[in-house]
């Protein structure tokens, strides 16, 4: 079983298994710890059979005490399509 970490905007809004696209970081020890992946996955605070462990932090970095679960369904590209700075007032 692998362990990953994700930073989620409003984790309390997720009550059960939910499919989403997100960036996760590998927590496998060694030189490549915190390697990032953009994935499509089912994420849940409740157990999913055969899932890996997901440590969840809020978007500001605060760690949730209990681990979540993640089942990766698709590895996406190295970056997300989008216009830089488009989310910022200008």
């Amino acid at each position: 079983m692998k362990e990953y970490m994700a930073w989620l905007e409003e984790p309390e809004g997720i009550k059960g298994p939910q499919e989403m696209s997100l960036t996760i970081k590998e927590l496998t020890h060694g030189r490549c710890k915190y390697l990032g992946h953009n994935v499509k996955a089912t994420v849940s605070p409740t157990a999913i059979p055969g899932a890996d462990t997901l440590r969840v932090r809020r978007a500001n970095g605060l760690l949730l005490p209990a681990p979540w679960y993640i089942k990766i369904t698709e590895e996406l590209g190295e970056y997300w399509p989008g216009r830089p700075y488009s989310g910022i007032v200008d």
Partner: protein, 477 residues
């Protein structure tokens, strides 16, 4: 005497007791940064870590590079104990004489060259700096180099860049920065990739000028030469025409993508709090890495002041404010941003004050962006570098109603990292600015001004002369 590289600078710091070399193995994950943070908070030495967990001998980490004014003085070739006002004046004097760089065919940063598929950012002991950060930050104490494609202007800045995978960095050059301005206007709309270099471990003065707010069209390399009092050697990148310091430890060459975003942050930033959150950052695709053998990766363990950022940015911001106020004919004497104010607070000394002048100062300082949001204006008899005098002026000369003017700043101009702003304000870069006028109103008749009761000002000269002459005879030191 200028230092050509970070290694000779480290040797100098070691001789004066301003650097400790840690030979015991430390973890790149939090431990190295925690050691550096504690040393910063104790006003302790810079720390060079010789042995990093998971990495072979020779891959090193360095923190606390300019975290005290002693180290700033040493980097300028001044005695370590040089008083802060003297450091300011020397820095300001040298800035007046920019020195063009020397372009050299090669340099130590080319000792090792990795390109294309061989690029692996995890080759280096990139630290996880704070618990909860969004990842490992390669770029903290860095120099980010980009170029305006129309004018050829080369811009240096200091921005954070985090590892996503072995060949992708994501970054957060602030929206109002020169880099972001050029990228948003001259690359993104055209769908063009922007060449960029992330430089770690150059001569410390290079990093210092990267924090400075020189105007559009001003090349920071010329100012690095000014501070060094000799030309800085630059060498061309392997994969672009950008020029980088030839003696740097590590240079990451790449391109910012105009049509991509990547997960970036959160990160414990320079105001001393982690106010930001994970967000969409810019994406840098790495094309090549060049580095010295036994490379030293430089980092800032950012946090509450003082540290490398709060010391150097305070100095360069103060002088930038002074230059700007002079350009606008403000009768400014000195400007000081105490490092503890993390470039949110600045003290401005003026020959003639009053609220009109104070408000002009506020408007000039915040015209483009309002990173500084608290401005204290004092008369020239107050030493801006002496916080005892500044607090006294604020306490007794600033009228609690007439002496304070605050206003909101337009959305997009405020500092999203300022901890006192609400979640909504930070999200929209909204905020405010306040000026504290601690000067006598010019309309008050001179004969009605309160009389300062200090040794220098309330006693006749003959009494002062007598007291000074007999000081030791009184049994005083």
């Amino acid at each position: 005497m200028a230092f050509n590289d970070i290694r000779t600078y480290c040797e100098a710091l070691e001789k004066t007791g301003d650097l400790v070399r840690v030979k015991q193995e430390v973890d790149w994950e939090l431990e190295a940064a925690a050691i550096t943070r504690r040393s910063n908070e104790n006003l302790g030495p810079a720390v060079l870590f010789d042995k990093i967990k998971d990495y072979p001998e020779g891959y090193r980490l360095l923190g606390g590079i300019q975290a005290t004014y002693r180290r700033v003085a040493i980097s300028l070739g001044l005695p370590p104990e040089t008083p802060i006002p003297d450091i300011y004046r020397e820095y300001e004097a040298r800035e007046q004489k920019p020195v063009k760089p020397a372009i050299v065919p090669t340099g130590p940063c080319k000792e090792n060259i990795v390109k294309g598929d061989d690029v692996d950012l995890f080759q280096f002991p990139v630290p996880l700096i704070h618990d909860g950060d969004g990842g490992r930050y390669f770029g903290t104490w860095d120099v980010i180099i980009t170029e305006d494609p129309e004018t050829g202007w080369t811009n240096w800045g200091m921005y954070r860049f985090m590892i996503h995978n072995k060949r992708i960095l994501t970054g957060d050059p602030t929206f109002t920065s020169h880099l972001a301005m050029v990228f948003r206007e001259k690359f993104v709309p055209q769908g063009k990739r922007m060449p960029i270099a992330v430089v770690c471990g150059a001569d410390p003065l290079c990093h210092m000028v990267a924090t400075a707010g020189y105007g559009i069209g001003q090349d920071e390399a010329d100012y690095a030469g000014a501070l060094r009092q000799s030309p800085l050697e630059l060498v061309k990148c392997e994969t672009s025409d950008l020029l980088v310091p030839a003696h740097a430890e590590i240079v990451i060459e790449g391109e910012l993508l105009p049509d991509a975003i990547g997960f970036e942050g959160p990160f414990g930033e320079y105001p001393g709090y982690r106010t930001g959150k994970a967000r969409d950052g810019v994406v840098m695709e790495v094309k090549a890495i060049t580095y010295r053998t036994s490379p030293i990766l430089t980092m800032i363990s950012l946090g509450v002041p003082v540290d490398d950022s709060s010391v150097t940015a305070a100095l360069t911001a103060s002088l930038a404010v002074k230059r700007r106020l002079k350009r606008h004919n403000i009768p400014v004497t000195e400007v000081y941003a105490p490092a503890e104010g993390v470039t949110h607070l600045v003290v401005v000394g003026v020959k003639e004050g009053g609220m009109k002048v104070a408000q002009r100062i506020k408007d000039i300082i915040t015209a483009r962006r309002a990173a500084i949001n608290k401005i204290v204006v004092v008369d020239s008899d107050v030493d801006v570098f002496d916080m005892k005098q500044v607090i006294h002026a604020l306490a007794v000369k600033c009228h609690p109603i007439n002496g304070i003017k605050a206003n909101e700043v337009a959305a997009g101009k405020a500092n999203e990292l300022t901890p006192c702003y609400s979640y909504d304000e930070r999200a929209h870069k909204k905020g405010g600015v306040v000026v504290f006028d601690c000067t006598w109103p010019p309309e008050w008749p001179k004969e009605t001004l309160p009389i300062k009761s200090s040794f220098n000002e309330i006693y006749p000269q003959e009494v002062k002369d007598k007291v000074l002459k007999n000081w030791k005879n009184y049994g005083l030191k």
